[in-house]
Symmetry: C2
Subunit: 463 residues, 2 copies
């Protein structure tokens, strides 16, 4: 049985690569409204592919988005599909997305980003790893069963969207509205929109959330010439720099009172689990290209990457940011920073702690300028129970295919859709990474290893 | 004699406005290379105007500028002109510029910026005050003598450039190379590229210099995702914010050791002079639109505007500066700030003080990132002797035309060309402002009052 499937998959490698090539060729960049027609075409291609396999396919209208110029633009439809509806079998729903981050050859790509190119067993192209190949892997798994006229061991549903890279606009509402229809018989949700930590296969059981803040300091009515006015006004930039400097210590400790109180204690059990994870601190350091990391010890480093909060200051809007010299006193500047959230932090509490802290340090400056603090994003962390049967099945699949134990890992980043699935559908979720640790998501020269890609097909078969 | 001239000037007001309208209509924005043809045309128009008046005109080639893409572009020629060469008369050289800052209606202009529009005695248009009308005023003064066939009381030279708004590229070299030719018989240099302080006419006897710094902090090889990497690296932005926060106190005191030691003491005589200057602190505060200024006392405020150093943080290059949210850890960020220079500060000393200070506070952070500090501009302050005959003549002219004593003022900004003229030609310089205090230089709705403009013609005649 399984051996037939494996043979089928092996025999169809070239066809799989060709399909991925066709998908990568579509510039489905969801951040660029001028590429929207390509995105619509991409969703149609996904629907068509699933329909040809005999699935019950729907392209769900999720409304429009408002553009900054006041006009509106249709969001790409969400593709849903169903294979099998046997009430005696569990139903698995695979989530994925087929939109991509922007890419241009000039950004530093060695190959044409939208022309899938194989070099030494790696398939280079925008969206190859994030997330087109993983989506196709889950599709090809069902296709193999269908082609061999074999019964699927589970009912399989797909939910494929086209706005993930810009915040999954419209998807939350769609999930909520289909809670008692599409999701009513779903038992498990699988997400393959993440990556391994090393060369060892991994299962992901947690992601950090994120609270993104704007701190706006407003002073003069308009930008002033720093020669003419400098020395007569308290400059908003001085105030902003001053308050941003109270967020985090030089060594990386968050200085906002209370923030760390809610962080779940790090247990001995966790310590042991982290200790076993395959992760080379030195290669990580070299890859990033810094002389020294914040922590040199593997467990400490992983813990601060996954299950401790951190502050990043992203930049300032309204100040002079171009190359060259400009002698301006910016009138209104907005500092942008975010705090990654971990269990048991609550964004509503963090919002109050940050706002209170900034207003308190600002008040001490006795500045005549005005401070406004606003939380723009408040995404909760997500954490799965690794003792759940879903993870046991995942571990077994990895063990069977690779003959190693899967590393149990977390993501430092935020995958808000996991949290939405959990909160709305109340189903169990597993993140089953297909992307390699060095796939260059969102970066230049994104790729998918043919070998890694191959694996998921196996896993898919074993569920 | 003088009355004929005054009548002539009065009779030709409409013609003067028409000429200014033609000049303002030329988008001679020197910061925009796509407008370079307009700038060349502007210089030709200036040359043509002076030639028609019978001047000995030259368009001096000052070479090319290198663009960031590696190509080069011819700088606009500098127009020089000469009227009279009587060895028994002193020779006055008028400096001005006819390039402008960028302007678009959308920036918030009430009128089309390149279509000179008269409203209630004000002529609105980009370059009206800075510096096209002042240049024309000095041209019309000589023109009136010529039209009436009257002898000029002095020999007059003009030096009109087209790159002032972007740093007078090429002009320093041109001045140096013509030291013993064009400048050999020049006795006095007049600059009208500044403004009054109030409604009372003024003469300007000093400008601040400027030291502009880039502080670059470099960490990872490339920008990182703040979710994936946040908590594992010491972020360059945190370091940069930390060191920028050590430059100036919340109340405006410069914290860099040694900086204030070189500042010339404020004498009682100066205090008295400042006390007499017409300047309303409250209107100044309202105009800027802040709740409170750095100093509420007139003398203190003017002193900190003109004759004390100040630090302005202009912005950061390399960080996220757009609207919206981006979860990035910028890999390399460059903070930009400048320190206004006053007598007896020396940019070379300031460079060392700032560099040492920043490296010292950076070292205390024990960061693995790299700091580079570079002084990009090091412009000295300029100060004239107000007891010089040139200023006595200026005061007399103002007194005769307006029947008030001229306020003796300084500029907080830097007019580097004044310092160059002084250092290279060793001639005496006077700054005779024509722009009104509320002309909105570099800003929206720039204008020139017809009344103020009229005045300089008078002054011109009296020299």
């Amino acid at each position: 049985m399984i051996s037939n499937l494996i043979k089928y998959v092996d025999d169809h490698q070239e066809e799989y690569v060709q399909t991925l090539r066709e998908w990568v060729a579509v510039e489905s960049d969801s951040s660029d409204v001028t590429k929207r027609a390509e995105l619509y075409r991409m969703m149609d291609m996904v629907g068509e592919k699933l329909r040809k396999m005999g699935g019950k396919v729907e392209l769900v209208d999720i409304g429009e988005e408002q553009l900054p110029d006041g006009s509106s633009l249709a969001l790409p439809k969400v593709v849903t599909a169903q294979f099998g509806s046997d009430v005696n079998k569990p139903t698995v729903c695979v989530y994925g997305h087929v939109d991509v981050q922007p890419a241009q050859k000039e950004d530093g790509w060695a190959t044409e980003p939208y022309n899938l190119t194989e070099i030494n067993g790696n398939l280079y192209g925008r969206g190859a790893s994030d997330n087109k190949a993983p989506v196709l892997a889950w599709i090809h798994a069902v296709e193999a069963f269908k082609a061999l006229d074999m019964d699927l061991p589970v009912n399989v549903k797909y939910l494929i969207e086209g706005m993930e890279e810009t915040g999954s606009n419209g998807l939350d509402a769609m999930i909520k509205s289909q809670k008692s229809t599409f999701f009513s018989d779903v038992d498990y949700i699988i997400i393959s929109d993440c990556g391994w930590l090393s060369k060892r296969p991994a299962l992901t059981y947690g992601t950090r959330g994120n609270c993104y803040f704007f701190a706006e300091v407003e002073g003069p009515k308009q930008d002033l010439h720093s020669g003419v006015y400098g020395g007569t006004v308290i400059e908003p930039m001085t105030d902003l720099i001053g308050i941003l400097d109270t967020l985090i210590s030089p060594s990386g400790t968050i200085l906002i009172p209370g923030i760390r109180d809610a962080v779940a204690p790090f247990s001995d059990e966790e310590w042991k689990m982290y200790q076993d994870i395959e992760f080379d601190v030195e290669s990580y350091r070299e890859k990033i290209g810094v002389e020294q990391l914040m922590y040199n010890n593997k467990v400490e480093l992983l813990a601060h990457r996954w299950r401790h909060p951190t502050v990043s200051i992203h930049g300032i809007n309204g100040a002079f940011s171009a190359p060259g010299t400009k002698t301006v006193i910016p009138a209104k500047v907005t500092g942008k920073f975010s705090i990654r959230q971990v269990p048991d932090m609550d964004p509503a509490v963090v919002e109050k702690q940050v706002t209170d802290h900034l207003h308190s340090v600002f008040a001490k400056r006795k500045s005549p300028n005005k401070l406004k603090v606003k939380m723009i994003i408040g995404a909760k962390p997500w954490l799965a129970d690794i003792k759940h049967s879903l993870y046991e099945a995942g571990k077994a699949a990895v063990k069977r295919v690779f003959n190693v134990d899967a590393d149990m890992i977390r993501e430092g980043g935020t995958i808000p859709i996991a949290r939405t699935f959990q909160d709305v559908t109340e189903k169990s979720i597993i993140m089953l990474p297909i992307g390699g640790f060095d796939d260059g998501l969102h970066s230049q020269n994104e790729k998918m290893s043919t070998k890694t890609w191959h694996y998921v097909l196996m896993c898919g078969l074993l569920y």
